[in-house]
């Protein structure tokens, strides 16, 4: 959820749209609808910090997903460097999947 009082709301929206281009290769849905992204922080100048998780801590596709995040944010924000903060708490669960994601997965 993007707060309108957030001074970086516009950037966050743009980043969310960009991250929708990153697809989880196993489930074939984007990582935003998958609920893997917990937060995007623009408060540091010239940096974007993405706090995210993976569906399993040792996901073999983790590297590819991380690469995807780097790629889309580098294109959307060429003047900022992307940092990924990978967290396991809270653990990802199927409740994280958005309504659109559920529809795609047939849940």
């Amino acid at each position: 959820m993007i707060s309108l009082t957030n001074p970086y709301a516009q950037e966050e929206l743009k980043a969310n749209i960009a991250l929708m281009e990153v697809i989880d290769p196993e489930l074939n849905i984007n990582i935003i609808d998958m609920g893997l992204v917990y937060g995007i922080d623009f408060s540091e100048p010239q940096t974007i910090t993405v706090t995210m998780t993976l569906s399993t801590p040792h996901c073999p596709m983790g590297d590819a997903i991380e690469q995807g995040v780097m790629n889309v944010l580098a294109t959307a924000f060429p003047k900022r460097q992307t940092k990924i903060n990978l967290v396991w708490d809270p653990e990802w669960s199927i409740d994280n999947i958005s309504a659109a994601g559920r529809e795609q997965l047939g849940l």
């Binding site: 281009e21 990153v22 697809i23 290769p25 196993e26 489930l27 074939n28 993976l54 569906s55 399993t56 801590p57 040792h58 996901c59 073999p60 596709m61 983790g62 590297d63 590819a64 997903i65 991380e66 690469q67 995807g68 995040v69 780097m70 790629n71 889309v72 294109t75 940092k83 990924i84 903060n85 990978l86 396991w88 199927i94 999947i97 997965l105 047939g106 849940l107």
Partner: protein, 421 residues
């Protein structure tokens, strides 16, 4: 910063050669089945049956499992594979050894070629076990899946070592026990120790992952691990010193109880799955469990009946029903991902790229699945009814199944990245 747990996909060389070679051995296995159709219901200690069983166990089952284990162990242990060169060396030894053994069994030439080939397979199994142990040892987590993998690697080494001793025994007799009785111990150390425990360990990780399901009942997996190993150890100890008789049923029951515990865990994960739709590949794997159950039910008949066909049915359900079913189902859930990772990982998010499932021909899978069902049913019926014509037809259908599978495996392996930026 990205956590150290990711970026653990193993190098292609540690995985791909196993899948490709196993697909070729599967074609060979089905071709041998076709040519040996008339002998399939006969005694298992015959050149063609021994050649077929070792093609199935080593060239097909073990070959794929080595590749899959090298791919999945880093996932399970959250560590990189200890050594890719050792994995590759185990591949060469296994391939050379298996080819030599199949040739030697087929022509029943128990000379130096058999002993050298057997030694290659033993060497390969020890390298595999060492690699698994080192990878697992460096892991900072200890899970029941790792215990399954480590124990199965131990039983593999035990099986191949006993197998080599049996091969030497055929040339220079030195084992004080009946050769055929020790052969049964060798076979079941392989089936229960190696295949069953490895499949249980890896399956307990992968099946919930594919279903997006979870089970918290890990105590069931520990029960499975203990019951399967206790049953096997008792069987081996009793079987070495005494003739194999009805007491074996008790050990079989222990192993079966362990497998039921494992199945209960899988059923619990299945019940708590997010993915409601079960695809064809998962059905393949589900059917394989049914074949394993039928194989367990065959044990009393094998022990009581003097007809050799029941042992053939038992072996067919194990190798062509259970193990083959799992491999046919799981190959396209694992192999495309490692190929995709190497071809498209860096392009993710930059442009529209194919997904792992686009690397193989999905349209072929229903044909592969239903023909597999037909081939297995015909084979089992042919053995039970002693119908060599039915077995011949089953052999043809098996060859078609192996060609469909091989086509898709090589389509994935030789997939080229067409996207240029």
């Amino acid at each position: 910063m990205a956590d150290i747990f990711i970026n653990k996909a193993p190098k292609e060389l540690a995985v791909i050669p196993f899948y490709g070679t196993a697909a070729l051995f599967f074609v060979l296995l089905c071709t041998l089945l076709f040519f040996s159709a008339s002998t399939l219901g006969g005694h298992y200690f015959s050149p063609s049956i021994l050649a077929i069983v070792h093609t199935a166990a080593l060239g097909w089952g073990t070959m794929v499992i080595f590749g899959a284990a090298y791919q999945l162990l880093p996932v399970i242990c959250e560590r990189e594979l200890y050594s890719t060169p050792l994995a590759l060396l185990s591949y060469f030894l296994l391939t050379i050894g298996t080819c030599g053994m199949i040739w030697s069994f087929w022509w029943f030439d128990m000379g130096w070629l058999m002993i050298v080939s057997g030694s290659c397979v033993v060497g390969s199994s020890y390298l595999y076990a060492f690699n698994i142990y080192q990878t697992s040892n460096e892991s900072n987590k200890s899970q029941v899946n790792q215990h399954f993998l480590l124990l199965s690697a131990f039983w593999l080494c035990f099986t191949t070592t006993v197998g080599l001793l049996l091969a030497i025994n055929l040339r220079y007799q030195f084992i004080p026990r009946n050769h055929l009785d020790v052969l049964k111990l060798h076979a079941h150390a392989g089936i229960v120790g190696w295949f069953l425990q490895l499949i249980c360990g890896v399956g307990a990780k992968l099946i919930p992952m594919f279903l997006l399901g979870k089970s918290k009942k890990t105590q069931l997996l520990y029960a499975a691990l203990i019951l399967q190993n206790v049953g096997l150890i008792l069987f081996l100890a009793d079987g070495y010193f005494n003739p194999i008789g009805l007491r074996t049923l008790l050990y079989g029951l222990l192993v079966a109880a362990g497998t039921v515990c494992w199945l209960l865990y899988i059923i619990d994960a299945y019940k708590h799955r997010a993915r409601k739709k079960i695809d064809l590949l998962m059905k393949h794997a589900g059917l394989s469990s049914l074949c394993l159950s039928f194989a367990f039910l065959c044990i009393p008949i094998v022990l009581i009946s003097s007809q050799t066909k029941w042992a053939s049915l038992y072996g067919s359900l194990i190798f062509l029903g259970w193990i083959t079913g799992i491999i046919l189902g799981k190959t396209f859930k694992t192999l495309p991902f490692i190929v995709w990772n190497s071809r498209y990982k860096t392009l993710n998010g930059k442009t529209k790229i194919p997904m792992p499932k686009d690397l193989y021909d999905e349209k072929i899978l229903p044909y592969q699945y239903y023909l597999y069902l037909v081939a297995l049913a015909m084979l089992c019926l042919g053995i039970v009814l002693d119908q060599s014509f039915l077995l011949k037809i089953a052999g043809v259908v098996w060859v078609v199944v192996s060609l469909l599978y091989g086509y898709n495996v090589f389509r994935v392996i030789f997939h080229k990245n067409q996207i240029k930026l």
